[in-house]
């Protein structure tokens, strides 16, 4: 192992825990604490070495399907790093926070235009959190009408967060299969709908990158049974300026600001997952709501029908601010061009790959498509996982693999609008070369990463999640 990959906890302070009497009540004193002892130079060298073993969109192409790994513009980060953003507390008097509140109000209005929804809450912290808030709204809405509906319908191609969010809110799940065209099978939907249906959760375009053309018909079916239609905004980057969830007949929606509006993904977060609704659901949105009058912005807590709070504060303001800056920069036409280029890039890359990988379902695709390594697996024993690992050797982040589950050996590819033709060609050339390569080389990949192929099953078996655990096992084995 490279010495600079040593865990920082191995530089522990060996001195005894100091005498700190007088600070804690009796019985609450601490006797030991093992934290690293490093100077700033060592600290920086450690973390900079770690950063070099990581790969972001600034490092190279990152066509990770469903995650919309756009370029993160630097003006947005600089704007978010000022004290007028950072040193603001959410309980401040509204008079002290007029700037933050105005940004949020404007962002609500922009998201409302983009989605065709009437009211927006910026409170949820991430996409799945927005889904959960939406499920709570669905629940509160039906309860307010005295209706007991305990089922939520989810297509088999849905993101895993959809069924997880619905189940967390206490709903029974009804999964419906996709039809041969990759879209919702309307007969299956008809069979699944009943007076117990609270909502249908739908992504459009769906996770295969296919637009559900019969969405109006589908909406009428759902509404005809008194259920609500929920839009998973994960794929919003495909349709801006062309259509909107509102125009398609959806009642409520969540956004992923970290996908569609280019805020950094942060190695797994933070993101932001605002929720938008049609006017008849507005009363149920989380509190507080931002109200505007002649004197400026105030917070309205007196909303008796509201679902209440989904997080402890006002939402991820530092992310909301970045996304708002991006929306201002793009404007309406710019956002439409983003969607057009994202879709063009995806279709170009698909066309380049389709003689080399199986790409099920018909054209056109939207911002992403799902290829399959099933032929490679059959002919050469090379699976989607192996293709992914070999791409790492070429400095390209692999696509999402094994999702959606209805495509065997799935490679879900989303290049976003930010890849140039040169870069798309590079991704295609690399994937084609892997398909044609000696399988032994592919199966043993990666060859040039900081580590060889990682043993994920050992990690599951051992379940060592901390240095403490690591040490106690080490001592136990002595």
């Amino acid at each position: 192992m490279r010495p600079d990959r040593r865990l920082i906890m191995e530089r522990i302070d060996a001195d005894a825990y100091p005498d700190v009497s007088g600070y804690m009540p009796k019985g609450m004193e601490r006797g030991s604490l093992h934290l690293p002892k490093v100077n700033e130079s060592e600290l920086l060298r450690h973390y900079i070495a770690l950063s070099r073993d990581n790969f972001g969109t600034d490092s190279g192409p990152y066509p990770l399907g469903s995650c919309t790994m756009k370029h993160n513009p630097k003006y947005a980060d600089r704007l978010a790093s000022q004290p007028s953003v950072g040193r603001m507390h959410h309980h401040m008097d509204e008079d002290h926070a007029q700037g933050s509140l105005e940004i949020m109000k404007r962002m609500e209005m922009a998201l409302s235009e983009i989605s065709g929804m009437d009211a927006i809450s910026l409170q949820p912290s991430a996409g799945a959190h927005g889904e959960y808030a939406a499920m709570l709204i669905v629940k509160a809405y039906h309860a307010s009408r005295g209706e007991e509906r305990d089922e939520v319908i989810v297509p088999d191609s849905a993101h895993g967060t959809n069924p997880a969010s619905a189940a967390m809110a206490g709903y029974k799940l009804v999964e419906i299969p996709s039809g041969e065209d990759g879209c919702v099978d309307l007969d299956a939907l008809e069979a699944a709908l009943s007076d117990r249906t609270a909502a249908l959760m739908l992504t459009n375009p769906n996770t295969l990158g296919i637009f559900e053309r019969r969405v109006k018909e589908l909406a009428a079916m759902v509404h005809g049974r008194g259920a609500l239609l929920y839009y998973d905004g994960a794929n919003l980057n495909a349709i801006m300026g062309k259509t909107s969830p509102g125009a398609m007949g959806f009642d409520l929606v969540h956004f992923n600001l970290h996908k569609t509006f280019a805020t950094p993904h942060g190695g797994g977060g933070p993101g932001s997952g605002p929720v938008g609704v049609k006017s008849f659901l507005e009363d149920f949105l989380p509190i507080p709501r931002i109200a505007e009058d002649a004197d400026g912005m105030t917070l309205d807590w007196a909303r008796p029908k509201s679902i209440g709070k989904v997080n402890g504060a006002m939402g991820n303001f530092a992310i909301i601010l970045r996304a708002y800056a991006y929306i201002l920069r793009q404007g309406g036409d710019g956002l439409k061009e983003c969607s057009e280029r994202a879709v063009l890039n995806s279709n170009y890359l698909k066309k380049r790959l389709e003689n080399h990988y199986d790409v099920p379902f018909a054209d056109p695709r939207k911002h992403e498509f799902v290829a399959s390594a099933k032929n490679l697996k059959k002919e050469k024993g090379v699976r989607a996982l192996d293709v992914a690992k070999r791409m790492i050797d070429h400095g390209i982040h692999p696509p999402t693999i094994y999702f959606p589950a209805l495509v065997e050996e799935a490679l879900m590819i989303e290049p976003t609008e930010d890849e140039t033709m040169e870069s798309l060609d590079r991704i295609a050339d690399v994937m084609i070369s892997i398909a044609e390569e000696d399988p032994a080389t592919v199966l043993a990949a990666p060859h040039s990463a900081p580590v060889g192929r990682v043993d994920e099953s050992k990690a599951v078996k051992d379940a060592v999640l901390s240095y403490r655990r690591m040490l106690s096992l080490r001592e136990g084995s002595r």
């Binding site: 934290l35 790969f55 507390h89």
Partner: protein, 431 residues
């Protein structure tokens, strides 16, 4: 590109979007980067931040000093422009940084397992309550009534799908857990018991360890991670799960978000825990490596049967916390915790000299915040203080109505003697 695909114009790729759902996007034209910057800065200038208007607000979100090294590390774009480390060979840096974060949190809490973040302390508590419902049969979750209305509301919302009821117990005259009230409420139907130290009132509650002997149900303890430099680890008190707000570890307040939800638990419960976890393993050459693990608990594998729906979390904020803790080390963190206690003691003493003010309300050990009882409505005092360039503390009326005359004041190392003195003299004038 269009030639290659075989289309004449870009909209051909949208021929599958029916006319009946088409619409335009009526947003204004885009702006230059310079103009965007000016416009946003113009709006933000309407804020009065804690550097301009000293703030005494806390409850999980604190104005601490952020070392420059923390900003520098999380500004590395290899970290912040990456996503969830699905491909471990390309993400060892983030994985190791998050494993180190988990390790630091385990060390502070005295537990063997931690996840690599929840959204904030309130949602971490919600997830902890849900985990109790998985570990145990009961249908009541016991928690203190001394919590912000935000936290109570989030907790209720997280319990909605479980069938578990939230029951709230009171506090004693010293601001700690009312043990008799807890005793009365403990039955076989309790699936989990939650307590905080420091609690809403900033009190380091020496009664929390006594709760372990009162029930076999999982004990969840809420903490402030900086206070843990001096405070007994909750794992040693018998806690099964520890949660808390971790924003204080190297992140700005950001108007409340992103925060950092701390979540740690006992090793035997790892397969029931929510959220992303990073595990230690080996690569094909037998060398130390890290990867996301126990993923069969998670939504992308388990879907409707996942332990939580969480996907995107606050990984970068967790890295900031790891760097912050490594930067300070044991002795640095101890000094910081001591300084916070000393600042709070100084402020409460100064305020106690004002006539008709009870400071602190509770005669007990505090960390960096404390409640004071005022002769005038705290909301009114805050209005006057605002005109004089101060952001007062949190009026407790909206959270615990019986303490309607009380204000919760938080202070940190960011308040020097001059700021505190000035604040106290203003308060004296106002009263």
């Amino acid at each position: 590109m269009m030639d290659f695909i075989g289309i004449g114009f870009e909209d051909e790729l949208f021929k599958d979007v029916p006319e009946e759902v088409r619409c335009h996007l009526p947003l204004p034209k885009g702006m230059s980067e310079k103009d965007v910057t000016r416009e946003i800065e113009r709006i933000l200038a309407k804020n009065s931040h804690a550097g301009e208007v000293p703030s005494f607000l806390g409850v999980g979100c604190y104005d601490h000093y952020v070392p420059a090294a923390v900003d520098h590390v999380i500004s590395r774009s290899e970290f912040y422009t990456s996503y969830t480390p699905y491909q471990p060979e390309m993400s060892q840096g983030m994985l190791q940084a998050l494993f180190e974060y988990q390790s630091h949190i385990c060390e502070l809490t005295g537990l063997d397992a931690a996840n690599c973040s929840m959204y904030d302390g309130a949602t971490a508590l919600g997830e902890a309550a849900r985990m109790c419902a998985r570990l145990n049969d009961g249908n009541v979750f016991l928690a203190p009534r001394a919590m912000t209305r935000e936290k109570v509301s989030v907790l209720r919302n997280y319990l909605i799908g479980t069938g578990v009821e939230l029951e709230l117990y009171g506090w004693d005259e010293d601001g700690g857990v009312d043990l008799d009230d807890v005793e009365r409420r403990i039955t076989d139907g309790v699936c989990g018991l939650y307590a905080e130290t420091p609690n809403l009132f900033g009190v380091i509650d020496a009664r929390v360890p006594l709760l372990r002997g009162m029930t076999d149900a999982p004990l969840v303890v809420g903490v402030n991670p900086i206070a843990l430099a001096l405070m007994r680890a909750p794992g040693d008190m018998g806690a099964d799960i520890v949660v808390g707000d971790g924003q204080c570890l190297g992140s700005p307040m950001n108007y409340g978000g992103p925060g950092l939800g701390l979540f740690a638990c006992r090793q035997e419960h790892v397969r029931k825990m929510p959220g992303r976890v990073i595990g230690l393993t080996e690569d094909s050459r037998g060398e130390q490596a890290f990867c996301m693990t126990l993923q069969t608990r998670e939504q992308h594998i388990r879907r409707g049967r996942a332990t939580s729906n969480i996907c995107t979390n606050v990984a970068l904020v967790a890295v900031a916390a790891a760097v912050f803790l490594s930067y300070h080390g044991r002795d640095g963190l101890i000094e910081l915790a001591k300084e916070n206690i000393n600042r709070a003691r100084r402020l409460m003493d100064l305020i106690s000299d004002i006539d008709n003010v009870q400071s602190p309300v509770f005669d007990n050990h505090h960390f960096n915040e404390f409640a004071v009882e005022l002769p005038v409505k705290p909301e009114k005092i805050n209005c006057i203080l605002a005109k004089r360039g101060f952001q007062g503390g949190l009026p407790l009326s909206a959270h615990v109505p019986e303490m309607g005359d009380c204000m919760l004041l938080a202070t940190t190392e960011m308040h020097d003697d001059e700021v505190q003195d000035h604040f106290v003299s203003m308060l004296r004038e106002v009263l």
